[in-house]
């Protein structure tokens, strides 16, 4: 099996998190490589969250506003 990246995503409650929910409602499938942390807004993003994510071994960090 090839390399399966581990991705951490930070999703805005009002936008991307909602979009991700609606993708679920419509059953749009996508690869299961990401894990989600819900935040109330991308404004909440502190650079240290991203640094921490890489520190604990994330292969990629996605921020969805």
């Amino acid at each position: 099996m090839g390399f399966e990246p581990r991705i951490l995503s930070f999703l805005c409650n009002w936008c991307c998190y909602a979009a991700a929910d609606s993708a679920g409602v419509a059953r749009f499938s996508y690869p299961p490589n990401n894990r989600v942390i819900r935040i109330m807004c991308t404004g909440r993003m502190d650079p240290r969250f991203v640094v921490e994510a890489f520190y604990v071994g994330s292969d990629g960090v996605f921020v969805g506003g």
Partner: protein, 957 residues
């Protein structure tokens, strides 16, 4: 259902019927007969012992008679009230005075055979009738072989068959031989659009539900080949066309345009003969035939009408007017399918609209007998303990459990640090599950909860409330979204989905351990509303809110009120739209509580639910108004299509322009002998991707009007699908009877309008003749559709999301159809999406009902996600003040030092302040730095775990 069951102001009487209604609006007396349940719902714990031991079988009506149940039973696990009952007709004791086994096995002694029918007189101010819809009689289904061939089933039966709690636990088995059907056919318009069974109207919902059921069948049985037989595809709801096309493509469904006259059996299979549009006759065999049955008037509608003294339409549904689609007679209102076939979003909207009607009538006595919900005090001792996390993994029926191994997730959760209890629940949001949550919290002294289920966006408030009922702070629950963002999107890889669910649960537990109690703040509400848009929707909403007793500021950008309705001359319902408009304007202008601003725009809105402040730009000045809620009724406009010679030839007009000509009588049409109408000109994929819902009935209505003025005139209507849903189908039938010619065109070969000499001609490809035809026309009328305004400045100011088409997006299509993502903002009318007048008026009242909730309550509870400043850490740098997008932070002097302070009610919890605070003095409720960092670390854990395992292994070696 759960919410209604939980409200202290709703008393639910089941097994009850209103026998008589007397009195007058505001002061009715309703005599209600309540049949005995024979089980005391107060004592019943829904353990199911009575049903398990009941020896008497009964046909399971809930499962569409596909299964057997017992005389002592509950119809389904989530029923409200969650209590069993005994079927009078089947029970051995009640019929033969024997048995009584249930009495002996019932632990809490809830069985009570001494119950007798009870008659109660209720004093009520208003009545809302929602008896729903009835079934199509079996005789009407016989011609399709229903009742003769076992493998002909109704769509309702299929619905139960697909359900995990259904007779086959969700396995698709055909009744005759219990085999898996390979070829399945859906027949549309069964018991709808069928004069022969007395149901000439369209049931409006079947096209959409058929595609939903076909999609679900494919999920259950991917190998099945599914064909759907339509006359017209009527998916005219908001976003429905797109959903339909997506489903057809994704599931490889076959769509055939033909009406099946009958079903015959051949060698254990079912034969269908049909004629397609090209004139060819086909014969095909299927294993299972699904009849998409329509919606009939509810059984006993006539008796109901007699008792309540209301009128029915010729098909047995409640009769209402376009001007007032919610009122049956003063004090008596209607909602749902009893008023005419309709889908869930529309039923919910109508129900809210009916509630507004009631609230208008009873505004003076509001809160008189209301009970406010109270919660027990928080358990300080429990809160002070170390985090004791309880994890609940929800099956959500098969929604989650069908993909994810919930048992494994639960077992894994139990091993996580801080977790003292883990369990699974079939439906965590059901009443019995919430009850169980409360019990477990007490039993195991839990002070943090993790619910692995659906989205916190929809269900967190429910669980927060449950926590409060259990004496815990509402902020101590964290949800792991393993349905919407896991099971539903990774259905093809159960193993990976399970691992993802385990990760999300671990991250949620990590966060939960860091959660701290938060205070719920109450903020006073300014008892006034801002209604933006003075069309039919805006005026109706304004009137309703004002009649409910609150001030309204009504803003219209044009010089006069009326909006699009000013241009409508006739209604499909036959009423006079200009009279409706005049009445509305008169009432609005006379109403002491409504302040009208014409020629005005909204320049700015600041604040939050309960306390908005808006600046209105008037002709010569600007004005500041304070209000608690906003209703968006900003409307939409008639689309202007490209091509069709529109704007180039005076012989090409839109339906509204044609309507104007028709209103002038014969003289406007002196030389017009032949009218050609083109449907979907610009709509459904050409320029506008969606269906505008109202053009088909508009075309038919205008065609009939033309025929009335000029009986010898000819009308051609070129269409893709005639979407004269509901009772508008009657007009379609009438138009055909009067000689209006309907020609269907293919979307890939749309009609063209060309000049020829001084006249115009319409070119259309005829599928039957397989050749292009040219129809000379004296007038070409384009059904152009409804288009959102290019910009919606008010929506932009409020930052409320729009659909890609520019219409205001509702917070939830079914559950919150007139609310938007921003609290305290509501939407109605064309701003929400295209719809005819009657639906607009009902929706406007729905928006008014929702808008009046915070106004009537007098306060709103601020979600505790707001930010807080730790004064001792704050250095008063002011970065947060400058960055806050909501002006929710101010600098104050404390002991001569500058300190930041959060205005909680204005804070949206976005967190910009916290992310930019140099000294970490700002914490965000529920989203603290520590909690998020813990979540990130928990994300990284499995790798660390693996590593430590390998290290250990190496050491051991």
């Amino acid at each position: 259902m759960v919410e209604a069951g939980r409200s202290p102001n709703i008393e639910i009487l089941t097994l009850a019927e209103v026998e008589e209604l007397s009195g007058k609006p505001g002061n009715f007396k309703a005599r209600v007969r309540i049949k005995p349940r024979y089980i005391d719902p107060e004592k019943c714990t829904a353990c199911g012992q009575c049903m398990q031991y009941c020896p008497r079988e009964a046909v399971d009506e809930y499962n569409e008679r596909l299964d057997f149940t017992r005389a002592a039973r509950i119809d389904f696990a989530q029923a409200v009230p969650t209590a069993y009952y005994i079927d009078e007709e089947r029970c051995l004791h009640l019929n033969h005075e024997t048995c009584m086994i249930c009495t002996n096995v019932c632990g809490p002694k809830a069985i009570d055979f001494s119950q007798r029918p009870e008659v109660r007189d209720l004093e009520v101010g208003a009545v809302v009738l929602c008896p729903g819809f009835g079934e199509v009689p079996e005789e009407a289904l016989e011609k399709y072989g229903y009742g003769i061939y076992p493998d002909v089933m109704t769509s309702l039966e299929i619905e139960r068959l697909m359900c995990v709690s259904g007779p086959t636990e969700g396995e698709i088995l055909r009744p005759s031989d219990l085999s898996h059907p390979r070829k399945i056919a859906f027949l549309q318009c069964v018991g709808s659009r069928d004069v022969s069974c007395g149901r000439p109207y369209c049931s409006s919902v079947c096209c959409m539900y058929a595609i939903k059921e076909a999609s679900m069948l494919k999920e259950h049985a991917p190998e099945a080949e599914i064909t759907l037989f339509f006359m017209d595809i009527r998916t005219m709801g908001k976003g429905f066309d797109a959903a339909f096309e997506r489903a057809v493509e994704k599931y490889g469904l076959r769509v055939v345009r033909a009406r099946i006259p009958k079903v015959e059996a051949t060698d254990g299979r079912l034969g269908l003969s049909y004629v397609t549009e090209d004139g060819k006759v086909h014969r095909e065999l299927f294993d299972l035939v699904v009849l998409s049955v329509g919606l009939s008037a509810p059984a006993g509608a006539e008796e109901l009408a007699r008792r309540f003294g209301i009128e029915l339409n010729p098909f047995g549904f409640a009769k209402t007017s376009a001007a007032d689609p919610l009122t049956l007679k003063p004090g008596l209102y209607v909602a749902g399918a009893f008023q005419g076939p309709k889908d869930i979003p529309e039923s919910v909207m109508q129900a809210s609209g009916a509630a507004a009607r009631v609230s208008e009538l009873l505004a003076e006595v509001r809160k008189q007998d209301a009970v406010e919900k109270s919660f027990p005090p928080e358990d300080e001792e429990l809160l002070s303990l170390e985090p004791r996390v309880g994890v609940f993994v929800c099956h959500c029926g098969v929604n989650i459990a069908g993909v994810i191994d919930v048992q494994r997730v639960k077992d894994y959760a139990a091993t996580l640090p801080g977790v003292v209890y883990a369990d699974t629940l079939v439906y965590s949001c059901a009443q019995d599950s919430l009850e169980r949550l409360r019990e477990v919290i007490h039993e195991h002294r839990l002070n943090r909860l993790v619910i692995a289920a659906c989205s916190p966006r929809t269900h967190e408030p429910l669980f927060q409330e449950t926590l409060r009922e259990a004496g815990l702070n509402l902020a101590l629950v964290e949800m792991a979204n393993i349905r919407d963002q896991c099971a539903w999107v990774h259905a093809d890889d159960p193993e990976a989905a399970t691992r993802k669910a385990m990760d999300q649960v671990r991250m949620a537990v990590a966060k939960a351990r860091r959660l701290k109690p938060l205070e719920l703040q109450k903020v006073k509400v300014t008892p006034a509303a801002l209604v933006v848009g003075g069309g039919a929707a805006g005026m109706t909403a304004a009137l309703s809110i004002a009649d409910q007793g609150f001030e309204v500021h009504l803003v219209e950008k044009e010089k006069e009120l009326g909006g699009n309705l000013r241009r409508v001359r006739f209604l499909a319902e036959g009423e006079n739209p200009q009279k409706i408009l005049k009445d509305l304007i008169k009432r609005v202008e006379k109403h002491p509580k409504i302040q009208v601003y014409t020629g005005a725009t909204v320049e700015n809105i600041s604040g939050y639910v309960g306390n908005f402040t808006s600046t209105l730009r008037l002709a010569e000045e600007s004005k500041v108004v304070n209000h608690g809620v906003v209703v968006l009724a900003t409307g939409a406009r008639e689309h202007r299509p490209q091509g069709y010679l529109y704007g180039e030839s005076p012989k090409v007009v839109t339906q509204l322009e044609f309507e104007e000509k028709l209103s002038q009588g014969k003289k406007g049409l002196s030389r017009v002998k032949r009218v050609v109408m083109i449907q979907c000109a610009g709509s459904r994929g050409e320029e506008l991707p969606y269906c505008s819902r109202l053009c088909c009935q508009q075309a038919v209505k205008n065609a009939l009007k033309f025929k009335e003025l000029r009986p010898e005139g000819e009308v051609y209507i070129l269409y893709r699908d005639m979407r004269t849903y509901g009772f508008y189908e009657e007009l379609y039938r009438e138009a055909r009877a009067r000689g209006v010619v309907f020609l269907r065109y293919q979307p890939e070969r749309r009609p063209e309008v060309v000049k020829k000499g001084r006249g115009v001609r319409v070119k259309i490809y005829d599928a039957l003749l397989k050749e292009e035809m040219e129809i000379p026309a004296d007038l070409v009328v384009l059904s152009v559709g409804v288009e959102a305004e290019a910009e919606n400045p008010v929506a932009q100011i409020l930052k409320t999301p729009l659909t890609p088409e520019g219409f205001v997006l509702e917070a939830h299509v079914k559950l919150r159809p007139v609310e938007v993502a921003v609290d305290g903002v509501y939407v109605c009318g064309l701003a929400h999406g295209p719809k005819p007048l009657a639906e607009t008026l009902a929706q406007a009242r729905a928006a008014a009902a929702k808008a009046a909730i915070p106004l009537a309550k007098g306060y709103v509870e601020v979600q505790p996600i707001v930010s807080r400043v730790e004064e001792s850490k704050c250095i008063g740098c002011g970065i947060c003040v400058a960055l806050c997008p909501y002006k929710a932070i101010e600098l104050i002097k404390v002991d001569k030092r500058r300190k930041a302070r959060v205005i909680s009610a204005a804070c949206k919890g976005c967190g910009v302040c916290g992310a930019h605070c140099p000294v970490f003095a700002i914490t965000l409720g529920g989203f603290t730095d520590e909690a998020i960092l813990e979540q990130i670390r928990a994300f990284g854990l499995p790798e660390a775990e693996e590593k430590s395992v390998t290290e250990e292994a190496q050491e051991a070696a």
